[in-house]
C-alpha cells in the first residue's frame, strides 16, 4: 500500500521540466530517484512539499494517503510539512539555522506540530539525537551547528526531520557533500530508520553507488521523464535502457561494457 502516490506529475517553469512522472512510495522502503542535473529529480521532490517557485505550473497528482498535495493551500500544506512529510537537503550547513542552538531547532518543530513543550520536548530531542548517534546529546542541545562536523550536522538535520514522526522522508543528495567515510554512517542510519519506523523514503541522488547501497527500488530520470524503473538488483545487474547503461558505464568502478575512461 503506497503512502505517497505521484501520478503523471508535470512541472513547468518557463519550460516543461518534469514531463509526466509516476512514482509510488511504500512504507519502510527506500525509493531512489536517479539522474543527472536537469533531469527533474530535485524538482519532483520539491513539488511534493510545495517548494517550487511561485510561477511554476504543475499538473498531475501527488496524493498523501487520501490528501491531494498539488494545489493545497498554504495553511494545510504547513500542517503537512515537517509533520507528515519531512525533507533532508544536500548541504547540512544550509539546512540548520546558524544562530539557534540545536536543541531549540528540534523542539521548535515539536512545539509547532506536536504541541510538545518544555521538559517533554527536550527529552524527546535527546532521544532523537541519541538515535542519530550524535555524541553527548544532552550537551549537544545547547550547542550551535557550526560546532559540529559536517557529518554530525547532517545527522542533526535528519533528527529534525524525524522530530514529528513523519510518514515520508525526502532526502535530496543527503551524502553528496560529505566525506566518503562519513557517508557510510549516514547511509546506515537512513536504512535503519526506514526499517524501524516504516518511513517511506524518497532518495534523490546522482550517485549510483549510494543508490546501490540502500535503495530498494530505483527510478531513473532523464529530461523530466522516467527512463527506467526496476528494483535495485535488476537495475544494476541487468539495466534495460540505453541511458541507464551509459550512467553505469561512466562510473569508475564500472563492470558494464562501454566503460571507457578515454571518453573526452
Amino acid at each position: 500500500m503506497s503512502i505517497l502516490d505521484i501520478r503523471d506529475l508535470t512541472v513547468d517553469i518557463g519550460r516543461p521540466l518534469v514531463k509526466g512522472l509516476s512514482v509510488q512510495l511504500d512504507a519502510g522502503r527506500i525509493h531512489g530517484l536517479a539522474g543527472e542535473s536537469g533531469s527533474g529529480k530535485t524538482l519532483t521532490a520539491m513539488s511534493v512539499l510545495g517548494l517550487l517557485p511561485r510561477h511554476a505550473r504543475t499538473g498531475g497528482s501527488i496524493r498523501l494517503g487520501g490528501t491531494e498535495l498539488l494545489g493545497l493551500g498554504r495553511r494545510a500544506l504547513n500542517r503537512i510539512r515537517g509533520k507528515r512529510i519531512a525533507m533532508v537537503f544536500q548541504d547540512p550547513s544550509a539546512s540548520l539555522h546558524p544562530q539557534i542552538p540545536v536543541g531549540r531547532q528540534l523542539t521548535d518543530h515539536m512545539r509547532v506540530h506536536l504541541g510538545l513543550r518544555g521538559a517533554a520536548a527536550r527529552r524527546r530531542a535527546v532521544e532523537l539525537l541519541e538515535r542519530v548517534q550524535v555524541p553527548n546529546p544532552d550537551e549537544a542541545l545547547r550547542r550551535y551547528p557550526h560546532q559540529f562536523s559536517g557529518g554530525q550536522r547532517q545527522r542533526i538535520a535528519i533528527a529534525c526531520a524525524l522530530a514529528c514522526d513523519p510518514e515520508v522522508l525526502l532526502a535530496d543528495e543527503p551524502t553528496t557533500a560529505l566525506d566518503v567515510t562519513v557517508q557510510a554512517g549516514i547511509l546506515t542510519l537512513l536504512r535503519e530508520l526506514a526499517d524501524e519506523r516504516q518511513i517511506a523514503v524518497l532518495l534523490v541522488t546522482h550517485d549510483l553507488g549510494v543508490m546501490s547501497a540502500i535503495a530498494d527500488v530505483v527510478t531513473v530520470m532523464k529530461d523530466g521523464r522516467v527512463v527506467e524503473h526496476a528494483d535495485r538488483e535488476t537495475l544494476f545487474r541487468d539495466p534495460q535502457h540505453e541511458y541507464t547503461r551509459q550512467l553505469l558505464a561512466a562510473l569508475p568502478g564500472s563492470r558494464i561494457e562501454g566503460g571507457d575512461d578515454h571518453d573526452a
Binding site: V180, S212, D261
Partner: protein
C-alpha cells in the same frame, strides 16, 4: 617522456590563524614530474587543497619550499605574476566562479593563449581548444551562464591548458560535477596534460576516479601524508589503516544493497598516530 621535475615541494607547512592556530599542512613533501599525474587524495580537513594552493603560491607558506622547474614559487601578490610562473595553471573546484560571468568564453580562452605567447611558448587558436575539450566551436561567442557545470569546467580546462603550463594544479575539479561526467572530465584532463608533456597535481576526495587517471597517489589526513606510492599498488594493496578505510568506504555500484563499513570512532582516533607508508 622526460623525467624533468616540474614541481618539487619539500617540507611544506601551512598554518591558519586561530586560537590555537590550525596547522593545515604539516611537513609534506612531494614531487611532480613532466608527463605524470600525481593525485592528492583526502577528506575534508586533510590539507590537500591548502597544499595545492601553497604550491601554486596562492596560500602563504609557513615553512618549507616549493620549486617550479628551476626557480622558487613566489607568492601571488598584488604585482603582476612573473612570466615564468605563468607556467603553473590551476583548475578550481567550482565551475561557476572560475569564469568571469561578464566576458565571452572565447575571450577568456584567448587570455590563456596570450599568456602562452607572452612566455615564448606556442600560440594556438581558441577553436582548437574548444574541439579538444569537446565543445562546439560556435561556443566562442557565448557567456558562461549559457553552459552547464561540466561544460564550464571544460572551458576552464581549455583556458588553463591554452597557457601551455608545465604544471597543472587541479583543485577538486570534478567534485561539483555529476557522477556520470566525473570520470570523463578527469580522463580528459589526464589525456590533454599528457599530450602537452606537462605534469598534473590532481586533488580529489574520490579515490575511485583518481585510480583511473593518476600515476602516483598521496593520501592525506590531518595535514600529513599517510601513504603514497604508485596508484595501482595503493589500490590493490593498501598498507595504512586510513587508506584501507577509505577504500572500504566506497560504495560499490553492483546492486547488492551492501552499505560500506563506516570506520568507528576508535579507529578514526588512531589513524594519525600510525606512521606513514611511502613507496
Amino acid at each position: 617522456m622526460t623525467h624533468e621535475t616540474v614541481l618539487d615541494a619539500q617540507g611544506i607547512v601551512v598554518r591558519y590563524p586561530g586560537n590555537p592556530p590550525v596547522v593545515a599542512v604539516n611537513d609534506v613533501s612531494l614531487q611532480v614530474h613532466a608527463g605524470e599525474t600525481v593525485a592528492l587524495v583526502g577528506e575534508s580537513g586533510s590539507g590537500k587543497s591548502s597544499l595545492a594552493r601553497a604550491a601554486v603560491g596562492i596560500e602563504k607558506l609557513a615553512g618549507g619550499t616549493a620549486r617550479f622547474l628551476d626557480g622558487e614559487v613566489t607568492p601571488l601578490r598584488v604585482r603582476r605574476r612573473p612570466k615564468h610562473l605563468t607556467g603553473i595553471q590551476m583548475v578550481f573546484q567550482d565551475p561557476s566562479t572560475s569564469l568571469n560571468p561578464r566576458r565571452r568564453i572565447g575571450e577568456q580562452i584567448a587570455d590563456g593563449i596570450a599568456t602562452a605567447r607572452a612566455r615564448g611558448a606556442e600560440g594556438s587558436r581558441v577553436e582548437e581548444w574548444l574541439e579538444k575539450v569537446g565543445l562546439p566551436t560556435a561556443s566562442v561567442s557565448k557567456f558562461p551562464h549559457q553552459f552547464s557545470g561540466g561544460q564550464k569546467q571544460r572551458i576552464a580546462i581549455a583556458r588553463a591548458l591554452a597557457a601551455r603550463p608545465q604544471l597543472l594544479v587541479a583543485d577538486e575539479p570534478i567534485s561539483a560535477l555529476d557522477a556520470s561526467t566525473q570520470t570523463s572530465v578527469a580522463a580528459l584532463m589526464r589525456d590533454l596534460v599528457k599530450e602537452a608533456g606537462a605534469g598534473m597535481l590532481f586533488i580529489s576526495h574520490d579515490l575511485a576516479v583518481v585510480q583511473r587517471i593518476a600515476d602516483r597517489t598521496f593520501v592525506m589526513f590531518g595535514g600529513r601524508v599517510l601513504e603514497s606510492g604508485p596508484t595501482a599498488q595503493l589500490w590493490a594493496d593498501p598498507q595504512h589503516p586510513y587508506t584501507q578505510a577509505l577504500l572500504a568506504a566506497i560504495p560499490e555500484p553492483d546492486g547488492a544493497g551492501r552499505i560500506p563499513s563506516a570506520p568507528s570512532a576508535a579507529e578514526r582516533a588512531i589513524w594519525a598516530d600510525i606512521p606513514a607508508v611511502q613507496r
